[in-house]
């Protein structure tokens, strides 16, 4: 029967080629626009650490005074102060924990042909490598002693080694960064989760990667500063050790629900003790432990423009669907005569309904094909934008499947009402009127 309905649908669509074309075009444009923007949203909000994200947590403390005159800058409580980060680090309540911040240093290559360039990297404590699962190509992370002792050592990424030395076997070599010499003790394969969930909100999240990692103590001892957001509300805004300057990120790995509950309690107690000591003004209940995805959600990493574009695309799709419902309604109802004859010849209402639904699905399938072409064009145009997320805008298999399914489902749904109305035509009345 299905083949017969498909054939009927094809004939019906061929009888009104212009109208069919317009319906297919409308659904195609609607699907194309929404798929383009949904793909962009999808890649921007994807899980950067699949399989691991459930164990990674970001403690949140709010040391900011209750009444603070805030300008246009980012929320200062999004980062930690040095004393708080050190307290969490030394408490060792997680499987792994690391305090970190980004910095940019001028690298002076040893080879004469290269100009100096600026490299972005991270000052961190040693657990970062194990916690985030970075893979060492050569060498290893620094030791706990080097972590505390401000050793002039650095772990570099494979592409950084390639750029500066022309090879990756560079353990033991010396690289000059920010006017200081560092001994390379390890090389990691390039690591760039998207979004870069662990960086400060003011850094790029969809482009670039850390080219080097050095002990946090070293960065502090050499006064290398940070390139992230540094917010202060006391008198010593330039002192990174200050309890009134926030600039550090902190991540902890917790492997069991019990460990998570324990850490929550620990964080609350810590905030309460700081409040009791008069350092925090906010209630201890503002302390919070965010999961990785929850943390990304809190930071609203999708720009307003992208959200608005997605909204526009969906509204456009909605209007296209309204349009198709109206057109299908008119189209199917006009075929009352045909329906009456089929009913008189023995077809029941269900058959009529299925027949028209097959026709709607066929329109949806054609529309979906047009939509895929439109979405590819749309994504191509997104990739031409200079935004940092642009290069990620590519259709993947799940999105492709979603586009086709959405298109067919949407048009079948759009056809339900018209098909039902057409199926409920009373054959006797119609046949009599002919």
């Amino acid at each position: 029967m299905f083949g017969y309905y498909l054939d009927l649908a094809r004939r019906s669509l061929q009888r009104t080629p212009v109208l069919t074309g317009l319906m297919v075009l409308a659904i195609g444009l609607g699907i194309g626009a929404s798929m383009t923007m949904l793909t962009v949203l999808h890649v921007m909000t994807d899980d950067p650490m699949p399989g691991r994200s459930a164990y990674l947590f970001r403690p949140y403390l709010n040391p900011v005074p209750l009444r603070m005159n805030r300008g246009m800058g980012p929320d200062p409580s999004i980062n930690l102060t040095w004393p708080d980060a050190m307290a969490l680090l030394h408490a060792r309540k997680g499987t792994y924990q690391a305090a970190m911040a980004g910095n940019s240093l001028v690298v002076t290559p040893v080879q004469g042909r290269l100009r100096p360039f600026t490299a972005d990297g991270r000052m961190t404590t040693r657990d970062l490598f194990a916690m985030f699962g970075l893979r060492f190509v050569a060498g290893a992370a620094w030791s706990a002693e080097q972590d505390d002792g401000a050793a002039a050592v650095v772990v570099v990424s494979r592409s950084f080694a390639q750029r500066v030395f022309g090879k990756t076997q560079v353990v033991g070599s010396v690289v000059s960064m920010g006017g200081h010499d560092f001994r390379v003790i390890g090389v990691v394969s390039d690591w760039a989760p998207r979004p870069m969930f662990y960086v400060d909100a003011s850094e790029k999240r969809y482009a670039g990667a850390d080219a080097f990692f050095m002990p946090l103590s070293t960065g502090m001892a050499l006064n290398l500063g940070t390139n992230g957001n540094q917010s202060g509300w006391g008198s010593d805004e330039n002192n990174l050790h200050s309890p009134t300057v926030t600039w550090l990120q902190f991540w902890v790995e917790l492997d069991s629900p019990a460990a998570v509950a324990g850490y929550r309690r620990f964080l609350y107690d810590y905030a309460a003790s700081q409040k009791a000591a008069g350092r925090f003004q906010q209630p201890a209940s503002t302390a919070h432990l965010y999961g990785l995805m929850g943390w990304l959600g809190k930071q609203h990493i999708v720009p307003g423009d992208v959200n608005m574009q997605a909204g526009l695309a969906l509204i456009f799709f909605g209007v296209c669907l309204l349009n198709i419902v109206a057109l299908l309604l008119a189209k199917y109802l006009r075929r009352a005569a045909e329906v009456s004859v089929r009913r008189a010849l023995g077809a029941c209402r269900r058959d009529i309904f299925v027949q028209f639904s097959v026709e709607s699905a066929l329109i949806g399938l054609l529309g979906g094909a047009v939509g895929l072409v439109a979405a590819e064009l749309g994504l191509w145009s997104v990739r031409q934008r200079p935004d940092d997320y642009a290069h990620l805008a590519r259709m993947d298999l799940p999105m492709l499947a979603l586009a086709l399914t959405a298109s067919v489902l949407a048009s079948v749904a759009a056809g339900v009402l018209p098909a039902w109305r057409a199926a409920s035509v009373a054959p006797a009345m119609r046949l009599k009127s002919q």
């Binding site: 444009l29 600026t118 307003g304 423009d305 526009l312 509204i315 296209c320 349009n323």
Partner: protein, 419 residues
């Protein structure tokens, strides 16, 4: 023509009509808001920088580390740049509008205001938060700023900046007109003192010697503050500086290439930077890239919606004409003219779209309220609503015209045929 029978006729297609009404309403709401957002973004993109942008090039120089006498080297650079044939002016500056970075600082117009500001730790009248630019010799000519009061800097005004220094050694400044108005509402800014930076705490001011028409910030923020700037006659000597070059527009490419070669030769240790030297037009284009994308997308969505809606109206009208061929024939046979039939279809469309528009206006206001909450948009000015309504009505009339004409062409003899 009487309306009630028409409504009765429409009642036979109640569902289809309501779908069309809904479609027109959503389209109307989105088109009104999109038009408003486009206007706002276009205004933003065309915001004057205050500079004479044509013929202006910006070279940004970043060094791995500072030389012992960096400023002397920079001044040598500027001299050499001025000798390039075609260069009309060249100046050392630390920032330009729309470059995406800026240094700003609280600035007060009187010591009294300084005291009040320090006591309140908040905004007080007589103080503002302008952007602070520092620039060396020829800065006004190179940037193409327009003086509206006072005078240009003189040779004796310029002071030598030090690396990482606080602006404030200079004794004179030029301010933008809007800052002059903010600090001195009576309009006598030239000759008055302003206090900023280290001068705030020391109570040591700089004299305003001139006022320029406009000078925009490095980053746009709140509209009321965007045009507030102080220009200090101080030659910056940091590891990162800018050179502003002015030439005739037709010489720009050649001048830029020559300047890039010259700076490369004089600073072999400069950092790798793809945006090392470019026409100012590119600086502006890069800054407003997102706005232009959004303008394009808003226009495309509005046009797409209008197109789909017109398509729906035309498609349905087409069906209705086919469906009613017999009744049209009867009407023609009993005396209706072609004009009557045409008018009938157009009035019908007018009615449907009209209901859609009324709903659409309400929807447009609701959408605007939501956008105001989500994206800090301002209130939709009312003229957008009638214009949007008119547009949709015209669209409806246009879309229904072809089917209506076809209906009007139905000969009365059809009435006697069976279908």
């Amino acid at each position: 023509m009487r309306v009630p029978p028409m409504i009765a006729a429409l009642g036979r297609h109640r569902l289809t009509c309501w779908l069309l009404v809904l479609q027109a309403a959503v389209t109307c709401a989105v088109v009104c808001n999109a038009a408003f957002m486009v206007t706002q973004r276009v205004q933003r993109v065309n915001e004057p920088s205050g500079l004479r942008e044509s013929g202006l090039s910006i070279m940004s120089l970043s060094l791995a580390k500072l030389h012992d006498d960096q400023l002397a080297q920079y001044l040598g650079d500027v001299d050499a740049l001025r000798r390039i044939p075609g260069v009309q002016a060249a100046a050392l500056v630390d920032g330009v509008p729309y470059l995406g970075g800026e240094s700003s600082g609280t600035t007060c117009g009187s010591l009294d205001a300084v005291r009040r500001m320090l006591a309140a730790r908040a905004d007080v009248p007589g103080c503002a938060e302008p952007v602070l630019y520092s620039g060396g010799r020829q800065v006004l000519q190179a940037l193409g700023l327009t003086l509206v009061a006072g005078r240009d800097f003189r040779d004796g005004d310029y002071v030598h900046g030090k690396a990482g220094y606080q602006m404030g050694d200079a004794s004179s400044v030029i301010v933008s007109q809007s800052l002059a108005r903010r600090l001195y509402p009576e309009g006598n800014a030239v000759g008055q003192m302003v206090y900023f930076g280290a001068g705030l705490s020391k109570g040591q001011g700089q004299r305003i010697v001139g006022v320029v028409e406009h000078l925009q910030r490095g980053i746009l923020g709140k509209a009321i503050d965007d045009d507030q700037a102080v220009l200090v006659p101080s030659e910056p000597a940091d590891a990162s500086v800018l050179f502003a070059l002015r030439s005739a527009a037709r010489d720009q490419r050649r001048v830029l290439a020559a300047a890039a070669a010259l700076l490369d030769e004089r600073h072999p240790d400069r950092l790798q930077d793809p945006n090392f030297g470019r026409p100012y037009a590119q600086v502006r284009a890069a800054y407003f890239q997102r706005d232009r994308t959004m303008i394009g997308l808003l226009i495309a969505s509005a046009l797409g919606l209008l197109f789909v809606t017109a398509l729906g109206i035309a498609g349905l009208a087409n069906f209705w004409v086919q469906q009613r061929t017999r009744s049209i024939g009867i009407r023609r046979a009993i005396g209706a003219t072609r004009g009557d039939i045409l008018r009938y279809f157009q009035a019908e469309n007018f009615l449907i779209v009209g209901v859609g528009i009324v709903l659409g206006m309400l929807l447009a206001l609701a959408l605007n309220l939501w956008l105001m909450q989500q994206y800090e948009l301002t209130r939709l000015p009312w003229p957008y609503l009638p214009v949007g309504a008119l547009l949709l009505w015209l669209l409806g009339q246009g879309a229904v015209l072809a089917p209506a004409l076809r209906a009007a062409a139905v000969p009365p003899v059809v009435a006697t045929r069976t279908i």
